[in-house]
């Protein structure tokens, strides 16, 4: 399939949410461990709880459009995650959903629109800048890399690999950063040397998206 023909279907989005739930369950302990030295040791537990709530809400919206599904996922996160992660990830999915309201499938460019809207929502309510040691440090370069890879003519799967690589680098780049937002900011210098848990969960979510699209692509 050529680069312009591959789309993201509603089923891909559902599969992405389901696979993310599995990945976050697997990584719950890991994320919570990352959150212990610089946070309050609950990020993995909270994200796992949130995506289990999404799983319980999915059957009610599975036959709806992508926007509705993502908005429902966001609402499930807002009402179950708590902490800062609830409003931040909830807003990410809700704003992403609003950006693609009514659509049953997305072009690659519309996927960029979706992710970009989610990122903008996170920045709006979290007010974090690049370099503050937050999820924004993984999301921003990832969305940028996806946009650029598509503009450079890469196909969707390749572009999603570029996105995932950028998210991974962004996540790793948080290690030497001094936290300026959230609970880690109270540690000052002591936040240096730790990988940000929020950037890590953001990376895992984007990596899962790449894997879902890649595996469908491979099976076609």
């Amino acid at each position: 399939m050529s680069k312009n023909e591959m789309t993201i279907t509603k089923d891909d989005i559902i599969e992405w949410l389901k696979a993310t739930a599995a990945v976050l369950e697997e990584n719950a302990q890991y994320l919570t461990e990352l959150d212990s030295p610089i946070g309050d040791a609950d990020h993995g537990i909270n994200m796992d709880r949130g995506f289990k709530k999404i799983m319980s809400k999915l059957p009610g919206v599975e036959d709806k459009d992508i926007g509705t599904i993502l908005k429902a996922a966001g609402m499930a996160l807002v009402t179950s995650v708590g902490g800062a992660g609830g409003p931040l990830y909830g807003t990410l999915y809700m704003d992403a959903g609003r950006a693609v309201a009514g659509k049953m499938e997305l072009s690659a460019d519309e996927l960029v629109t979706l992710l970009d809207a989610g990122l903008k929502g996170v920045v709006r309510i979290g007010k974090a800048n690049l370099g503050d040691k937050t999820m924004v440090d993984a999301l921003t370069p990832a969305v940028e890399a996806l946009r650029k890879a598509l503009a450079d003519g890469k196909d969707l799967v390749e572009a999603l690999h570029s996105m995932t690589d950028a998210a991974h680098k962004g996540m790793k780049d948080t290690i030497p950063m001094l936290a300026k937002k959230g609970r880690a900011s109270y540690l000052g210098e002591r936040s240096i040397g730790h990988q940000d848990p929020g950037a890590t969960s953001s990376y895992l979510i984007l990596k899962t998206l790449m894997e879902v699209i890649e595996s469908r692509h491979a099976s076609q």
């Binding site: 919570t32 212990s36 030295p37 946070g39 309050d40 040791a41 609950d42 537990i45 909270n46 709880r49 807002v78 009402t79 179950s80 995650v81 708590g82 902490g83 800062a84 992660g85 609830g86 409003p87 931040l88 309510i125 979290g126 001094l178 300026k180 937002k181 959230g182 609970r183 900011s185 109270y186 540690l187 000052g188 002591r190």
Partner: protein
């Protein structure tokens, strides 16, 4: 992990079930979404006061629901802020039509969830104002951090503002009073041990047998500085002087402007303590420190306040805002005026604080 629990994931639910059975004359408990509310709510003609936050700080906040204090409390998971649907349902349940004041501790998650809740409640026609408590002097800087955390002053604000609501203050006046309590209160805490979140099963941080952590928050998060353990007098002096000598603290907070109908940035400044100030001295156990040690801290605090010319006009000593089983303490000094003293003395009847009725 050794805890008196059944399953880690059932801790908050079973705690709430126990509270509902233990204090039926004072409170009712709503499940899914979870909140504790006054048995006689909504109280006609009275503004409702709602607070909330992560669980694990008991008796705060659920233990402060009742006449003279809170109308509802929204508990999150342990050390995790509650979600907007909890505050929304609580607001709908306790609002008498006079509006609702949210008292919010300044933690990123709490602030975001309470702001979302306030927006949702306003969409349903309920008047809501949010006031932040940010009194932890261990956080020096507001520019490069999320700002000072809300700690001990929260308990005092809930008592004083709750009493004022009982007397019929309107929403705007209660918000002003709550802001006044906040800018006049300063706190600092320390830990001798870490604490274990039930769902995690391991201590949040490790402290050596001869170490202590100064400037901790209330979520088992590490503090500013780790040092060799000192005597109670030395620790008390360290905390008390950090509070008393704290310079003016300036920051920008978000509040809802009812006239403009939007969130606005508000500049606040805490005036430093000065000789002649009347204060409430609050010595609090982080949960694991026994009552026998708190008067030892108070004794030294009293001496330091006298030396600095601060007159202790009221005190509170005990376990009021905790961090699970953590050993350690926090000190809060609240500058009082006649209005605040009078409201502090007003009757209160809750599971966690009770006098005069």
């Amino acid at each position: 992990m050794k805890k008196l629990i059944n399953k880690p994931e059932d801790v908050v639910k079973e705690e709430l079930e126990g509270i509902a059975l233990a204090y039926p004359d004072l409170v009712k408990v709503h499940f899914n979404p979870n909140f504790i509310y006054r048995a006689d709510a909504p109280v006609k003609g009275k503004v409702a006061i709602i607070s909330g936050g992560g669980s694990g700080h008991e008796p705060m906040h659920g233990g402060y629901v009742g006449p003279g204090m809170l109308d509802a409390a929204c508990p999150g998971e342990v050390f995790t802020s509650p979600t907007p649907d909890q505050m929304l349902e609580a607001a709908k349940t306790v609002n008498s039509g006079e509006g609702v004041l949210f008292i919010v501790k300044n933690y990123t998650g709490d602030v975001m969830n309470f702001e979302m809740a306030a927006d949702l409640a306003r969409e349903e026609g309920i008047r809501v104002l949010n006031i932040l408590i940010d009194d932890d002097v261990a956080v020096k800087d507001s520019l490069y951090t999320a700002g000072r955390r809300g700690v001990g002053t929260t308990v005092l604000a809930e008592k004083i503002v709750g009493a004022a609501a009982e007397r019929g203050y309107d929403l705007k006046r209660l918000a002003d009073l709550c802001r006044k309590v906040n800018i006049n209160g300063r706190s600092m805490g320390m830990a001798l041990t870490s604490c274990t979140v039930p769902m995690k099963g391991e201590p949040t941080f490790e402290l050596g047998p001869d170490e202590m952590e100064i400037g901790i928050g209330i979520h088992g998060e590490p503090g500013r500085e780790r040092m060799k353990i000192k005597t109670a007098d030395e620790i008390t002096e360290l905390l008390a002087l950090s509070i008393i000598e704290d310079p003016p603290y300036r920051r920008t907070v978000r509040e809802w402007d009812e006239d403009k109908g939007e969130w606005v940035e508000v500049e606040l400044e805490d005036p430093p303590f000065k000789p002649g100030d009347r204060v409430l001295a609050f010595v609090n156990s982080m949960g694991g420190t026994p009552d026998i040690e708190l008067p030892i801290v108070y004794r030294k605090l009293h001496e330091i306040c006298e030396k600095k010319g601060l007159k202790i006009v009221r005190n509170l000593i005990g376990r009021y805002i905790t961090s699970l089983e953590m050993q350690g303490c926090s000190i809060t000094l609240l500058r009082m005026d006649d209005e605040m003293i009078d409201l502090w003395d007003a009757p209160v009847k809750t599971a966690g604080l009770r006098w005069g009725m």
